[in-house]
Symmetry: C4
Subunit: 312 residues, 4 copies
């Protein structure tokens, strides 16, 4: 049933089914792969980690950094002797002294420097000179990161949660659709869809990959929505496969969309994946399009992105 | 009259005339589409909004932010008790106290920190430490935004306001022209022109799209001006169409220019659109070119970009 | 002699010799074109101007800005009354008062805020709050510009000052060469060479453009030097042309090199142009290559980039 | 044995073996070339140098800069007279005065400005105004550099240390492999492999270059690992060459990988090179792949990247 000649070898995934997880790619397009044999620090990209973490995690990291560095410098001033910080109130025990050192540290690292507390001894002056310098450098990096997170180009594409096998022409077609949901505009998009399935050949299970030919694989702009269609004709690896066989063969559809954000002039990319259980048999999408009452603008209803109806 | 085989399906626009606005793209190239079914916050891209807004709006947003944050911190200092801010003048009622708190707040958030007013209590010190930290982080983001707005690559292309149908070769041609107007230089440009028109087929009106073949669709540099020409021969969807039919068929010409800014080494893109009423029949462009009196430089007169004369 | 069919129309330059300057492109690759018909402010790109100006001009612009803004705020404090700036020495006349206001302004705009001078009245406090805010925003933009100038990707390519017409194969070839001179590495380079010449056809002089076919137009890396060669065979527009005719026909060779900086991962572009008087007839380049004494590294001698010898 | 017609001329390297070092490219992909004939300052790219240097070198450069600038300004204040800095302790000799000037300088350049020391004379005020301005500008550039170093896109690809000549199909193949080792994802990769060898033709030794055809030269994603294979068939320049001849002919394999980092949306490139002594004859790679115990993720074991076994 499957034409071996059309399989492809250049997905970057392995053909060994024994090395394979439940799905190749996750719903968000990340690969379902774990790396070992390198130390944590070598494997760990600070940049990617800080850019990818959730907003609340990132804010927590920054606050902890601020508290930590301030505490370290406060301890140094405390060890040198808070009497070297003129203006600090020194009459209520070590806890208060540490607190005064902490406040002086915060005033120094942020370069506010009110001056009602100020260093007098040489040692305290040197520490303060180092701290203000440290403050300038690290805060600038932190704010660089904030800006990088904030301004990172993103595709802002939503995919339908399900792919459908719908009536198409005289036969069937595999379909899913996508739309942008932000006030950005993408132009010159292209789509690449790879299908993987498991095949039992001579009693060993191997994984085969196919590039699915698409009715349209490039569009000029993603102004409304885009329904990506693969016709299931005799040349398709999906030809003649029913819903049960989709699951038995562990079919997975990996999708990659590239486009050009026409405002920040940057290429963006977004991926997703549909496994067999996310493919609906005999269903078709409901239209998302309309126009405003005064006819002046076209409308795209994103709430209907995954709306489909079952076809008898 | 229209050859169905040459229509294209990959514009990203819909063929349902019922879902269509008066024009697909606006004069500035933005798509005439409204998205619904997603919440405002999901639909809203802070980055794109802050980059795209007018300069005065952006300045207003920043000023309001500065006033707002200062006022919030001023209220906190006021609620804690302005007597914790040593140096603040406290003798003229709550309005003055609030004002003193506001000025202290401004001195803290900008990290000026003159110090004649400074926090004494633990609570005021903590708030000040938070405020100076907040100030550093958010101002850096604001200035990042200013820089991003300021340094955003732009094509700086002006299009002629009208497209013309002019005598060309032995027949006619659709023409419009463009030029850069800033002191930047674009190289390796290419143009893509899509025509849409409404067709009544079996009593339903559908929209058809065509890629218009151009006499020249790539140029090495946009050093002077570029007149883009589509020959209206028998293969053209515009062949035999008169001015009235242009309007009846709701003809729209969508234009996309890509180029490479040779100084900041960034690809830029600009789009525009001509609807039927912006297409002038039987007119031709007047030359914009000349040279300086001493012959040392070529001249491009942008005031004539849209200058045309009617041809009998 | 010139095959009209091979001329090209997509250079972005005009065929009207009457609109032509002495040369199309300058030695640094900029186009020899002046734009008119737009107001100065519309024509002027602040970004490109600030990025392109000489270093000393840029430093001058920044210093003047700093002096100017400080002076403006100093005048405002002076007009409000310097007695509102507590700590300023007020005993030596208006010149000193202005100077004290200027120093306070400098301390405020840079957010140093020593505090020995500080605002007391409401009006002075408001101005100071505005000034420190202004300082933060504009200095950040200035430093953004400094960084943008500093970190702008550049090709750092040096071209030979002359192009040569050298013996090549059994006939002649047009040659020039180039090399990088910085400690950067370029990969995946390509070259595009356009020739323009003036032709007298039916008593009107028009300009014709030709893409010159090159022996090698793509290289994997510019590790050493690259001699670009156009064989002057029967298909070449230069075939049979002698040194005098090069000048009579106002021959110009426009060169564009694109490459990829393999460290900052950015495409870079550099252009140049050779007019007839910069083309040396019957000369050939001298080798620039060698190796270090210990044989461990190859050597490129950039001092010899334009070294050639006359061939009898 | 070697088909001259398939050699290529567009590597950017020279064919003159006399100008050749021991290897064209180093293990890290940099070219083994030294440039002369340009002055140090012209050859030196500050940006590339500061971005490429080791982290500890970069930190040292910054610290030295901070100390240097502070010392220069301290000397200026000292020469003007430290009595113009009110609040400085002036009772313990010139060394202490210089130290007080240094601390004031540090407080000024970082814009901490405590204010317990502050300038009183006009000259000291002017120097302080210049210093705080200098501080803002240069620290911002430094932090820009820190951010640029930190956020520079990188491929994070590890190559196997050796290339192997392994059994492949009915004959042999040249193989090496690579994997990413960080938590980034690369998509749309392509590989280019160039072979160089020395040939004795008519008693002069020249270098020949060949593009090696690869079984797969493009992959969709580098999710696991990629073994790059060149089949050594009759068309291969390596056909029939034994281990000794690899060394005699000074064979070198230059590799370039381009890919797209799917998170920061930037093209990245990494290169390496294998010289004859790094090519193992009759060996094959050991699998690096597996899956987690619960079967939910695939595993790549980078410790085995260079693991191979000798084939009899």
């Amino acid at each position: 049933m499957i034409d071996k000649n059309k399989t492809i070898d250049n997905t970057g995934f392995s053909h060994l089914s024994s090395a394979e997880a439940n799905r190749f790619a996750n719903k968000d397009g990340s690969y379902n792969v774990k790396r070992m044999g390198v130390s944590f620090f070598e494997r760990f990209s600070i940049l990617h980690t800080l850019l990818k973490m959730e907003r609340w995690q990132f804010i927590a990291v920054i606050l902890i950094y601020y508290l930590f560095v301030n505490t370290v410098f406060a301890l140094i001033y405390f060890l040198i002797g808070v009497e070297n910080l003129k203006g600090a109130k020194l009459d209520s025990g070590w806890a208060n002294e540490l607190l005064q050192a902490f406040f002086f540290s915060a005033q120094t690292i942020t370069t506010v420097g009110y001056g009602h507390i100020h260093p007098t001894s040489i040692s305290a002056n040197i520490v303060a000179a180092i701290e203000s310098f440290t403050g300038i450098l690290t805060f600038a990096v932190i704010t660089g990161l904030i800006f990088a997170r904030f301004s990172r180009p993103q595709a802002y594409i939503k995919f339908s949660e399900n792919a459908l096998i719908s009536p198409y022409k005289s036969g069937k077609g595999l379909m899913f659709r996508l739309s942008t949901f932000k006030n950005n505009q993408l132009t010159d998009l292209n789509a690449k869809v790879i299908l993987s399935l498991h095949v039992n050949e001579n009693d060993t299970i191997t994984t085969k990959f196919f590039v699915l030919p698409l009715e349209i694989d490039k569009i000029s702009s993603l102004s409304m929505s885009w329904t990506i269609v693969h016709e299931i004709n005799e040349d398709s690896p999906l030809f003649g496969m029913n819903a049960k066989e989709l699951i038995e063969n562990k079919v997975e559809i990996m999708v990659q969309i590239n486009g050009f954000d026409d405002y920040i002039f940057h290429t963006v990319q977004q991926r997703t994946s549909y496994i067999a259980s996310e493919i609906i048999y005999n269903a078709k999408f409901v239209s998302m399009l309309g126009k405003t009452d005064d006819g002046s603008m076209s409308l795209v209803d994103l709430a209907k992105l995954n709306s489909y109806e079952i076809v008898k």
